[in-house]
């Protein structure tokens, strides 16, 4: 009961909903970049949404299944194929022992998620199977997948299969937004400290996602954002999607592998419902931001959470 890694892909890592409760020790959360795609992949194969999935980045792996399995691939369209035949995205598909799952050229998005019914059998570290590559722990053997790895699968034969294949509730349209719509944010803790020109530029200009962006942070380029007055700041807790602006004026969006605390001024905070859309952006793409109020941000989050809960039922 296992899968073998014939080709690892560019960066294929095991991730779940993150390592919670240890940030006071400086331990980052990690976890999936695109929470919606990850949860969907699990829900499609009848797993709990907290089960680990393989996060595939840009160039996918080639995996051989040693057993019959029920799988789902979600998120980016990276031309997934099983034994050379196109694999439909966002759908549970049965594969037979000996089948090979491979990926081709990217069509849209950056990160795809592979769920297997029953889940990958990997020991959690501090309550999570999410890889923290920089720390060398979590995931499969504390690192991204490599050629020749054999990943054990949990036995799912005894599990109730009645939930597989059912129709899943859809998100409300305001949760999803168009792929090119501005990324919604709330004003950051230090919003007021930025000068008026920078506040305007942040809401109107386009920012380019630079190539040195990774799971830790998305580095953006655009009009330089400046404080009205230089200020000494103390480090404080950071969340997924915090947008920090270091002295060079180029914003950095903190992503899944972010540090627990930081001391640069935060101009904004990406709304939870728009983090999946941001996580699927390619370096070179341009991004616009739209500031909304915290009431709207929480209403959107609650709406998304209701859909997740409906999938779990």
């Amino acid at each position: 009961m296992s899968i073998e890694v014939l080709k690892p892909g560019a960066l294929t890592t095991l991730q779940d909903l993150g390592r919670r409760g240890f940030q006071k020790l400086g331990v980052p959360v990690n976890g999936v970049m695109d929470e919606r795609a990850h949860r969907l992949a699990n829900a499609l194969v009848g797993n709990a949404q907290s089960e680990g999935t393989l996060e595939v980045t840009l160039m996918g792996p080639t995996l051989r299944f040693a057993v019959d399995a029920l799988i789902a691939v979600t998120g980016a369209d990276l031309d997934a194929k099983v034994n050379g035949e196109p694999l439909p995205l966002d759908k549970a598909t049965a594969v037979t022992a000996g089948s090979e799952l491979a990926f081709g050229k990217r069509r849209s998005g950056v990160r795809a998620y592979i769920a297997v019914r029953g889940g990958y059998r990997v020991d959690p570290v501090m309550g999570s199977v999410s890889l923290f590559a920089r720390g060398g722990y979590g995931g499969f053997a504390g690192r991204a997948l490599a050629r020749g790895d054999v990943i054990a699968l949990n036995d799912s034969s005894e599990k109730d299969a009645s939930s597989v294949g059912r129709k899943l509730a859809a998100f409300s349209q305001d949760v999803l937004a168009d792929v090119d719509a501005p990324i919604r944010v709330t004003a950051g803790r230090e919003w007021e400290r930025f000068n008026a020109a920078s506040q305007d530029a942040f809401q109107q200009a386009s920012f380019r996602l630079t190539p040195n962006s990774d799971r830790m942070g998305f580095r953006l380029e655009g009009p330089a954002l400046e404080l009205a007055q230089a200020a000494q700041m103390e480090s404080e807790a950071l969340g997924f999607g915090a947008i920090q602006v270091p002295a060079d004026g180029n914003p950095i969006v903190l992503m899944a592998d972010r540090q627990t605390t930081g001391g640069y001024p935060k101009i904004a905070q990406v709304c939870a419902v728009d983090l999946p859309r941001l996580a699927q952006k390619m370096p070179g793409e341009s991004i616009k931001f739209k500031v909304i109020g915290i009431d709207d941000a929480q209403r959107l989050l609650l709406s998304q959470a209701r859909t997740f809960a409906a999938w779990e039922a």
Partner: protein, 249 residues
Amino acid sequence: MNGVNSTAVSTTCRLRHSGERTVIVEVQSSDRVAANRIAREMAARIAAANYPFIHDIVPAMTTVGVHYDPHRVDMDSNDTLPYRVVESLLAQIINTSGERSTDTGRVVDIPVCYGGEYGSDLAEVAQRCGLSVDDVVKLHSGELANVMMIGFAPGHPYIGLLDEKLAPSRRATPRTAVPPGSIGLANRQSVIYPVTLPGGWNLIGRTPLRMFDPSRCEPCLLQAGDKVRFVAISPAEFDALNEHAGATR
């Protein structure tokens, strides 16, 4: 004794949201050490309330970050929103009088081999502080110091405030790779690098102890509220105690 008013220095706490999933408790005080102690006290009080919707409580220098799941907050009416409920519950906690000790009661000795290849900035730090190298070591290792917060990386402590003579600024150009166990010094604080990291602190020594090991039952050697005492050791003692796997000096 009320934690908020327990010093002669006036301090106040206020709540600010940082996005729709995090509330920051700000401690405002002219005395950084007092503000830090109160931040840790507030973190302990919030943890003791055991709210199921709060998943991480992150005490920092003068703030506490409270990360929560809005959809797990019980709301008795549809007119309100989770952040209002959370902020009102947190306001009750921070405004309640009553003392909760923030010290863990632990004193942890940190052996440090100072200077030379272990702390290549020691001589320069001494010069910038107008002290002899021996004076820097004595002042650094002489007193018990507080673990003010853990942050930036797993098990990465901020320790202080140290003697006021130990206040060199950070290096103008950060190093790209600082080896694990390195002791940094700047602005009356020390850090200890748990793993190889980039860093701009002045390196004055290195501990053979491993600050963070995810396979340990307690992964972090230190936690906020501990007291530490740096103890000077020789290179031979460093080698005997060295816990850095495959360590290269």
